[in-house]
């Protein structure tokens, strides 16, 4: 009776899920609605295999093919009355929000440990002393502001398209952020720290650039958020808005990365600290890879993508 072809009754489908590597039959789902989404199939699969929660599942039509999207509808896929899906375990997953919060909270606190010269970092005679250089205090404010801004953006601004990432990323990311934060904080707050060669002039200029870049970066994050309504996964070309900081969209696809690079270069200039410059360089390399990828997907998806735009550096890169 489930297969009756009476008008208005869509034929129900069956779904079998096989392991992509061993082809072992893992699950058989009976009486599935044709308009069911992959997300719903994943939920049903979890019932029989609770250790594989939905975000950990990759389901595909071909064992070596691309993962199906959660919003794909079963009947729109090239399947017969019995759909065969192949399962691959993506490994333990962790939410993007958790990763961001952890990787940003670390540098915030670690830097402060060095700023307050907590015991066992520098010689004991320096414990809890304070630097006599203004720039050192300014640097602490800037660094802390930067990471507080990032934490707030993670909680209130960003809209993530993917919910999770592999668990091992959190170790990799935290090592990077926390490691570099400790390394640069060590030198900036060191009793033997040498202030910038051009003194207050250099510091003021660097600070101005830093503030501009932080405002710019925030403006771009807000503009990107407004581009996509809550809960939707629509993709649109970002354009400049009334906010002058967003006018950088005329020249680059990822001005948020451009501003971020500017922030760190200016921080390196402000502190005249080589480890900060090295951190900027590594960050620049990674952001350029991301920007190029994003730029490429924009070009692929939108025929009318503005030709003047470069991925991250106007006219150059």
């Amino acid at each position: 009776k489930a297969l009756s072809s009476a008008p208005g009754t869509a034929q129900q489908l069956q779904v079998e899920i096989l392991d992509a590597k061993t082809r072992e039959k893992l699950c058989f789902l009976d009486k599935v609605e044709p308009h069911a989404t992959i997300a719903e199939i994943k939920n049903l699969f979890t019932k029989s295999h609770p250790q594989w929660y939905p975000t950990r599942q990759s389901l595909r039509l071909d064992p070596k093919g691309k993962s199906l999207k959660d919003e794909d509808v079963l009947q729109k896929l090239p399947v017969g009355t019995t759909a065969t899906l192949y399962f691959r375990d993506l490994g333990a997953q962790i939410s993007w929000v958790t990763v961001f919060l952890t990787e940003y909270t670390g540098p915030l606190f670690i830097y402060l440990l060095f700023y307050f010269r907590v015991p066992f970092i520098y010689g004991h005679k320096y414990d809890f002393t304070s630097s006599r250089h203004t720039v050192v205090h300014l640097a602490c404010i800037c660094h802390s502001f930067h990471y507080i801004k990032r934490l707030l953006e993670t909680l209130f601004v960003h809209r993530f398209s993917h919910g999770t990432m592999p668990l091992r990323n959190i170790f990799k990311n935290c090592t990077y952020y926390w490691g570099f934060a400790a390394w640069m904080a060590y030198y900036i707050n060191h009793p033997l720290y040498t202030p910038p060669t051009y003194g207050a002039q250099q510091v003021k200029l660097a600070l101005a650039i830093f503030v501009i870049c932080q405002l710019g970066n925030f403006s771009i994050h807000m503009a990107l958020r407004d581009l996509r309504p809550a809960g939707s996964k629509t993709r649109k070309i970002p354009y400049p808005t009334k906010n002058p900081f967003t006018w950088l969209f005329l020249l680059v696809s990822c001005p948020n990365y451009t501003y971020e690079l500017g922030s760190w270069i200016s921080f390196a200039l402000m502190t005249q600290c080589l480890p900060v410059a090295l951190f900027s360089l590594v960050g620049f390399t990674q952001m350029t890879i991301w920007a190029k990828g994003k730029h490429r997907s924009y070009l692929k998806e939108f025929r009318d993508y503005p030709p003047l735009r470069m991925p991250i550096i106007p006219f150059l890169l």
Binding site: Y187, H190, L192, Y193, T194, C273
Partner: protein, 253 residues
């Protein structure tokens, strides 16, 4: 350093002859391989490198016979050793432009660690040049490289004698630990001189607010050798697969 001695069963260098050990990029992708011009260049490159390391081998033997002892032979082959080992940097380029199917990252790691040992340790700390540990890794590298480069040459010409393949996948069993020991002992011997001279080190205060302790860095390098035994056993496991695969092929000829 760490992976310097691991070149025995790893890395491709033109021609896919035989599945390799730990280091080679996944050959699962059906890459069309280097074109005729690239193949000609690679054959020349590999022949030149084979010849170079043979020169070093002969140099060692002659020096030994002339001196009557195996101590301080480094000085007799210092120049060709530096030239040909440094020349291996080209292999990074080969991977980068795609004429060799190996991973750029892995190849860079391996070549840079060799170059590091030659220049940043042996060349820079003159006092270790007379150490026997230097001879240990030079011999290991020399034999390994002669076999490796001739392996690649023959593979590119699609005529790989089983002997070369066998040698590549067997001799590493002795050469790998030999090379690693030589390298570690040399770095260890260099430590007191680095400390004494403050070699390549910079301390605070300075206007770039940066410091570097080469002594501590060398200790970290030595620590990085720790995962090597694991790699070694993996290569031994790979060896069984590769050599038995060839044996079976021969049965059906």
């Amino acid at each position: 350093m760490a992976v310097a001695a691991a070149t025995a069963a790893s890395r491709g260098n033109g021609g896919g002859g035989g599945r390799a050990g730990a280091g080679e990029a996944s050959g699962a992708r059906k890459k069309k391989g280097p074109g005729p011009l690239a193949t000609a260049y690679l054959v020349i490159y590999n022949v030149v490198m084979t010849a170079g390391w043979l020169v070093i081998a002969v140099g060692l033997v002659r020096a030994y016979l002339a001196k009557g002892s195996y101590h301080s032979l480094y000085y007799s082959i210092e120049k060709p050793l530096k030239f040909f080992q440094t020349g291996a940097l080209l292999e990074i380029l080969h991977c980068a432009i795609g004429i060799v199917p190996s991973s750029v990252v892995l190849t860079s790691f391996q070549v840079m660690s060799r170059v590091f040992l030659i220049w940043a340790v042996t060349h820079s700390v003159k006092e270790v040049q007379s150490e026997d540990s230097v001879l240990l890794f030079v011999i290991a590298w020399t034999i390994t490289e002669i076999i490796r480069y001739s392996f690649y040459t023959f593979s590119l010409l699609n005529h790989l004698p089983y002997l070369i393949k066998w040698a590549r996948y067997t001799l590493f069993i002795v050469l790998y630990p030999m090379g690693v020991s030589g390298e570690l002992l040399t770095i260890y011997a260099a430590l007191p001189f680095v400390r004494q001279a403050g070699l390549y080190s910079i301390s605070l205060p300075n206007k770039y607010n940066f410091s570097f302790d080469y002594y501590a860095f060398l200790i970290l390098i030595m620590i990085s050798y720790i995962p090597l035994p694991q790699l070694y056993f993996h290569m031994i496991h790979q060896r069984r697969k590769v050599l038995s695969h060839t044996e079976e092929h021969k049965k059906f000829e």
